[in-house]
Symmetry: C2
Subunit: 153 residues, 2 copies
DNA sequence: TGTTGACCTCAAGTTTAGTTGAGGCCCTAC
DNA sequence: GTAGGGCCTCAACTAAACTTGAGGTCAACA
């Protein structure tokens, strides 16, 4: 038979208490409850009505933390996670698909930063005193939009 | 003599009205007033008590917009701008120094993302089903901290 | 026995980054 | 001469992402 969250005979590490998840992921306990409210993560309850998390939830929390760090809003995460099941460990395929979506987002973000770095390198060279030549100030500059390269450089 | 903001004889493009700055930078008028309140930008007033911005302020606003886009909080921007004067166009040196500070911040951010991309590539390869090998889940992982590389990979 | 400690719920507060609205000034154009 | 546009201030509101606090349960430990 399978171990259940309320099953005291279950191996202690099969299901994690909220404090453990917090300790292992670095996310605050209150944040974890909040993510659950948003539907970003899920838990079962044990006999004492306490949350028990399956191990695969750690991965989700880790991704949420990282996304936060690089400024991706939680709403976007919901979409990114759309095809990854909450109630069971994702299959290889499901996880692959989600990972690829993630990579796309990360790449976009990295490219934005790389473009900006290139701009600034130009600025350092020229002192950026020439307002007309500064790509940062190009009106309607791609830096303020999505996915398109700067008009200059 | 130098043109002043209240000087109606000044060339029309020497000083910009808030609406113009908004149009050229993409920042909302209300956001510009807000940035001014925070001390991130500054303006003079013309004879009608309307804000007039020197051209070099466009560059600051552009940087603020970009920083926002990649998730850098405005407080950090204050520090980044600490050595760049508000009241006059920054000198070549001042701008160079600030630009270098910016580059450092951008690089950090880019590296974080690059590391995460590398992690995810690994995950796509392995399906990330092996919880013990997944660097994302390494407890106390550097991804949740500052400037230190991941323990794995 | 009692007192920690980890957990629970629900409501309210906080911070960041603004937006929206009311009420008003001044200039221009019909 | 009045309507509209662009600007002004100040106060209040919003949304995201949490945190904090009050009040309570349960189990283990001294």
């Amino acid at each position: 038979m399978t171990h259940q969250p309320g099953d005291s005979r279950a191996a202690p590490d099969d299901w994690l208490a909220i404090g453990e998840v917090s300790a292992r992921t670095g996310a605050a306990v209150s944040a974890l409850r909040f993510y659950e409210e948003l539907g970003l993560i899920a838990s079962e309850r044990d006999g004492r009505n306490q949350r028990r998390y399956p191990r695969h939830m750690l991965r989700r929390v880790a991704l949420i933390s990282v996304a936060k760090r690089i400024g991706i809003p939680l709403q976007d995460l919901r979409e990114a996670f759309a095809d990854v099941p909450l109630d069971r460990p994702p299959s290889h395929q499901e996880w692959q698909r989600a990972s690829r979506g993630w990579k796309r987002r990360l790449e976009e973000r990295r490219l934005t930063i790389e473009r900006l770095e290139a701009e600034l390198t130009g600025c350092i060279g020229c002192g950026c005193l020439s307002m007309k030549a500064c790509a940062l100030l190009n009106p309607g500059d791609a830096l303020a939009e999505d996915g398109v390269g700067p008009r200059r450089l």
